[in-house]
Symmetry: C2
Subunit: 414 residues, 2 copies
């Protein structure tokens, strides 16, 4: 089954909203063996919606629309769909009840524009929304499936998971598609590509290799698509290719496209180790990555964010003389931060960061992007790495976090 995603709303075209929905949908549809062949973002004018529908139904078996279903006047998708499929708008009873329940729970007055969200084109199956007030719509017309759901990400996801995917699964029977991804840490894309070129060249034409660089990570994805092979065969072939790749890249990789924080979290749980951080230039970013993982309270105990000089002295007992002598952005201070915080927080591992995130504050000797990352280990030793990162303030913070978590990954693994 081939799908086209249409996102409706000026906010995407003028860049006020980043389209995260399509990425999520593309990913999940693929897992159901449905290939997304195009994503089209259009404004919420009637003519644009009708034109995009007409073009998409020529290319795809499934036309999946998100957005334009809010209670406000700028949201016209529902009216346009009723016109496109030549039918009236009618109140859906379940949707009406859902709206009343939600607003009651939130202690909000029920307005007419809230109730009107229960209106749907008569020809569609109304899809209930467990997370919000706007129902979705499911149509089958002329061998094409049309789905229209809200653009609010968690509403959209819940409706897809609870309802739409099941309907699609029962309709789909086409190519076998299999993906497998590893994340490579610390090898530049071009070097990675050159070192595994001979493997890439020997791939059969139904297996494709893709490089997806993200800061200092590269996701390496093998995709197989075939009508002749079974899932098991494709999976086996892909795994064989990755076995060859892994022999070349050593331990600079981890399985899947999981977050690095999840990978280290799992190791910390397995080894029953605790962790804390003491952060300067990253301002809590590393800690917030570590605690993003459900269940992280099993290993993460706490952090000291010693952003100012004074807090480095008062909270982390960094020697004022040392600070004066070598400055906060130095190997010595980074090492002392990790060591002291390991004691103060009573943790097995402690990550420290101190650097110049920019855009201002750099000097010739200590330029923007210079970061020291420390890691205090259970045996009492501290390793420190000096890094020179490039990019914006946020990129330098993210790269520092990735590097720190990868230092931890390598140490724990052994």
């Amino acid at each position: 089954m081939l799908a086209e995603i249409i996102t409706i709303g000026d906010e995407i075209l003028i860049g006020q909203t980043i389209d995260t929905n399509s990425a999520w949908l593309g990913n999940r549809l693929n897992e159901y063996g449905i290939e997304v062949i195009q994503i089209t973002s259009i404004n919420d004018k009637k003519s644009s919606i009708i034109k995009a529908l007409g073009e998409a139904e020529k290319r795809a078996d499934l036309v999946l629309m998100t957005g334009g279903l809010g209670p406000t006047k700028d949201d016209i998708t529902k009216k346009v769909l009723a016109e496109y499929f030549e039918c009236d708008l009618v109140y859906d009873k379940s949707a009406l009840k859902n709206i009343q329940n939600i607003l009651k729970r939130l202690n909000r007055e029920i307005l007419q524009i809230n109730l009107d969200q229960a209106l749907v084109p008569k020809k569609c199956i109304a899809i209930q929304n467990s997370k919000g007030t706007a129902p979705g719509m499911y149509f089958e017309e002329n061998n094409t499936i049309y789905v229209s759901i809200p653009g609010v990400p968690y509403e959209m996801r819940a409706m897809m998971e609870n309802d739409i995917f099941k309907r699609l699964q029962s309709k789909n029977s086409s190519y076998t598609i299999e993906h497998y991804t590893i994340t490579v840490v610390g090898i530049p894309e071009s070097h990675l590509a050159t070192s595994i070129e001979h493997i890439e060249n020997s791939l059969p034409d139904y297996i494709k290799l893709a490089y997806l660089p993200h800061l200092n990570l590269v996701r390496l994805r093998l995709s197989a698509k075939s009508i002749e092979h079974s899932v098991e065969e494709l999976s086996k072939q892909i795994k064989e290719v990755f076995k060859q790749i892994k022999m070349i890249i050593g331990d600079s990789w981890f399985e899947g496209e999981t977050r690095l924080s999840a990978v280290v979290g799992e190791s910390l749980v397995t080894n029953k180790n605790t962790i804390g951080t003491i952060e300067s230039c990253t301002g809590g970013f590393i800690a917030s990555k570590l605690t993003e993982i459900p269940g992280s309270s099993a290993y993460f105990k706490g952090s000291l964010l010693t952003y100012a000089y004074e807090t480095k002295v008062s909270l982390a007992k960094i020697d004022q003389n040392l600070l004066n002598e070598v400055g906060a952005v130095s190997k010595e201070v980074c090492e002392m931060m990790a060591k002291n915080a390991q004691d103060i927080l009573e943790v097995d591992y402690c990550i420290s960061s101190t650097g110049i995130a920019g855009p201002r504050g750099g000097t010739n000797e200590k330029p923007v992007g210079l970061v020291f990352i420390g890691l205090a280990k259970p045996d009492g030793s501290v390793m420190v790495e000096k890094c020179q990162f490039y990019g914006t303030r946020q990129q330098i913070v993210e790269r520092t976090s990735n590097k720190a978590l990868d230092m931890l990954r390598k140490v724990i693994k052994r």
Copy 2:
């Protein structure tokens, strides 16, 4: 001038990469008076690229392609463009020099696939890349402008800012477009819409109002597009409408679509106040938002991330008996956290958070999403708000952060 953005790459269609480039481009193009009418994401097959080019040039005066310019085999954009415009690929000298300089600076061996990135179609103007190795391309053919630039966000942005926008500006002369946005905090979208409905209804047809909800914020955007009015006239009319809206929504808004952390940061600088945080359920997220802002070291001093019970006691001197009695997620503990950390960090304002971010750990009495947020003020008093948030772990953390920063915003403003 009308523009279509084409993003090239399987990674977007299968959802491995979120398309942030188009949002940025849409936003900036608009500021140059260029309207994005469609964003199309396609795979990196030759046939898809050629088809999309053909459709886009019918709709748009500017066809702006991103992606597919990496050094690896899956990146074919350049070859396809050479074929589309019927010309050869030739080495661009400046691009070649740039590649050599960058790789030398990074101390990396120069590979043939690196050098081949300097190949561009003979008919184009090569656009230099100050942040990476792949040059961009600029074509003018049959009254249409075609631009192809790398998909790596900071490379793409630098090339647009340093080169492409200047070329486009000299070509563009069409509609006057004017946007203005405020961010509304803490009023649900449907209530906002109802309370300002009469204003919306009275708008002339060349002014449009859009609602862009994001967690507990709603961005409210007025867009005017006209061939008859000057920028000044449109700007004046938009401001007049917003004046009416602001009279209705009181102080629950701030200018622009700036980040809340930037808004409070500015107030902290103006009032010469310092701030710190003590965070439990948000795990450093509030601190990392505050320090995301360049120059935040002027007011942000540090934080205690007291995730575990023990660190609440050891770092923040929270009374062990109180913890046993009322639990960590309680008004009393939240208040004591803010007060104690204000003293320990020696700051004017101190934000505290304690709650249950989920997905596990909730009880009937203290369900997932229950969060207490505290704010210690310069006069020594502490305000605490009890909130019940909904959504995923990450959403609850973000909502807590937004709410906390908004509490601060309201208090400082007065």
